[in-house]
Amino acid sequence: MRLWLLVLVLGACGDNRPAPPAIPDCSAWGPPATGLGLDAAREAHRRSALRARLRYRDAVEPGYVLHETALAADQDRIERGEVCGGQLYEVGRILFEHQFDFSEGLAGSDEAFTRVQNGRHGGPETTSCLSCHWRNGVGGGGALPDAAYIGGDGDRVSSADARNPPALIGSGAVQAIAQDMTAQLAALRTDVIARAKKSGALEEVALVANGTSFGTLYADPRGNLRTGDVSGVDADLVIRPFGWKGTAATISEFIAEAAFLHMGLQSEDAALVGAPDPLELDDGPLDELTSGQITALAVYVASLETPIMTPHVAPVDRNDPAGAVEPYLVDEWARGRTVFEEIRCADCHTPMMTLPSPTVTIASPATGGGVTIDLSTAAEAPRIARDVDGGYPVFVFSDFKRHDLGEENASQHLQHGLAPRLYLTRRLWGVGDSAPYFYDGQSASIEHAIERHGGEAARQREMWRALPTSDRSALRVFLTSLRRSPRLSIP
């Protein structure tokens, strides 16, 4: 850490680069062009040419990209509001695609990859974020071969739990919804404690947030909580929406942990979210990723597009990414939306949640400070938008709760202490573009995924099986319509 800063400062003396102005001009850093038009094509080419340029820079000056991104995303300056949100997005995007090298902290001192993770030490398995989040564009999910094998013995696939890399689009809204729900639950908890203290008796409260029930919480007159009847959320009542089992509350936590587990990149933030002590690993310093770099990555991921829900379409017109509607599919689609309710998929895959505010705050696990993004204006399009009723509806198709998926889906290992059969309701938005399905990516089609629902969802599976063929088709048409908005890119 000290050496790193020394280099920074000497660099500053050497090339006499001025510090950036305290109040930046952010007018040139609006949301990026997306869609299918000329602007989007120009932006795709700009990114591609910049990628080539930065590869050259790294060749001429090893470590260039990491060094310059660390300068651009200095956590102190971020927290003082001196870095544009659009700059952080760009820095995060560059880091997301960056191929890390051993000299930059990739892997451990042995420079070895481990495809099957070794307990909580992780892999590392790969060299970049993009490596596993690529399908249908940057920020998408991974293919079957990309599965991570977590909690294993470092060797045998059968010793580990396979996890398909999930698509990351929409993460900003997901964190915002989870934090809003956490706040609702916390208010209920405060209230029940107050009531118990006042009444001098055991008091109870039904834990409901955004319409999702999380069981019952009891408080005794001394303010002690009984959480035995709390379900689908940890006893601390914090909604953790990231990870197949719901193990991280914020994008920053998830990134810090993923960067450590999958690439061996250590950070103060990773240490704080429970990655093993670096001393165990005989590896370099704790700032292979700085807090500012993790913040930039999180800003980028939080700003990714929001998935869309649309009757089946083809992008006939470049000025209208939603494209022309196939008229005969509209009826099928509408029927499918109804079937989705009729066979009770919506019991867990709650179609819509409303955000009271369009902002999300990306706080550093290490410093606690952060930056706030307005998802309705600053993120990639399509963005969440204000409804006539005031809130910001998000068609996310999840209740943000953990459920028992049955013994057939039990994991081998306890992840973060969670029961083997528990999984967070998978958000279905974007599902049309995120095959293969299920936590292990073993389901090639939506039907196969439905067929694997057990436990609390076994009844829905039976109802699906009992559907007439035409209703199954309709449901498929509906689910396939939950997708990414088409956009131009250069992979």
Partner: protein
Amino acid sequence: MTRYALLALAAACSSSAPRADDPPASRLFDERVSIPADSDLDTEIHTALEKKRREDRDRALDALESGEQLEHATLSQLALDRQVFTLDDLFRVGDDLFAYMFRPEQGLGNALGGHPGILAGPLPAPNLRRVHRGDFGGPDAMACADCHSVGGDDGAGTRTQNPFFRGDGDSTRGTDERSAPALLGDGPEERLAAEMTDELVAQRAAASTSAALAGTSITIALSAKGLGFGSLVARPDGTFDTTGVTGVATDLIVRPFGWKGHQATLRGIVKESFRIHMGVMPMSDQQDVRDGRVPALIYGDGPWYDVDDDGATIEVEDGMVSTTVAYLAQLEVPIVIPPDDPVLLDTFARGRSVFDEVGCTSCHTPALPLAAPMLVTRAEQSENQASPPLAVDVARDGLTPKIEPVDLLGSAFTVRLFSDLRRHDMGPALAAPFDQPHAAGAIPAAQWLTRPLWGLADTPPYLHDGRAPTVDDAIRMHGGEGAAARDAFVALPDRDRAALLVYLLSLQRTQRVVAP
């Protein structure tokens, strides 16, 4: 504590920063890059949307009626035989098939779990597994595109997508791990290898004739396209001593595909990949079982027409293989795209010379001449013996850029692949855990085919198992016959080493927009 040190030093260099402890401005935002003209972008967008529209429509129809999508990505040999489809048609269908994610009901995987004596895994159908067992394979993927995505469609694989070949079906350690290679330029590579094979075989035939006439053994030096392949002794009785043969199997067939060069044709590698990676059985392989051309039980113990016992009988028939070959053969070739920044461009020029000076070119031959660019693939099933062959002109058909003609007549072409298509000993550190079994003789553990470098920049990570995250790492890991060039690289002044890397990073694929 660090903050104090920083303060002291910052003060010492009398910076005019607004805050004394602030780091300097990042150079990241000073980069200016050039972007193609709008007219070019228009064309790109048009092509991208055409494909997107087709995919969306197929996907919608498939949602309505499961199976439509695969139907649209399939042309039967019967359909091909009518010869009404253009190569453009085959390209489109092959493109869709390449991206198609197979499902169990279409033959993905097998239902051989627990069958005694079969090297399939223990699971119920589709019985996928990440680590291969013996030569049976995984299957470990659902689509070709699952592992060929880096840098774009038909690109390379990521570190996580490595297949683990010839293992015990579970343990990743000690397996023969491979990085999925990029597929651009495979058409010209097949043609080059075929011409080299022809040259070597002709030399062998001539030597055999001479030896018979002379009544004594004759030793000849083998060479193809000016590259040496060791020596061969022809005996008067028509037999050969091949112990002096180098860089190629003793049958003198140059095989450009696979990291060790184990497949001579796209058809061969396509069929192999369908079978071992996706468990979709080529019908011609099943007929090999029927006719006893392969050992019994090697693919499974089902009836010959459903040898993997999963209820899907016609999984991959000749037409699908031919379509995939026609698609791959029509892909563009990677090219050299010099940096658009003047300082980097100057460095690039120096790098080109360093590439020669340190000896990279002794194996990574920058260019090879190709005389006949027509790639021909033939149906193999017994009922298709009369089917007309399918021909693709790898210098003309399909996506541009293409290999360049050496003259206006187009009498020959230059293939800038940066490989000699020979196998070389790369030393013990890079060696596979064991020799690779092969019908033409096991390929020694330490031998690897010179990897063509075209498109290098867009295909990290590097080397046969992706162990090298950067080009610099990859060069430093060269051993054996590459040790001298590696040492020369390491000994270079920093400036020249950087220049070489800049040059290598100019080996790119054409950048064009897609709508994935």
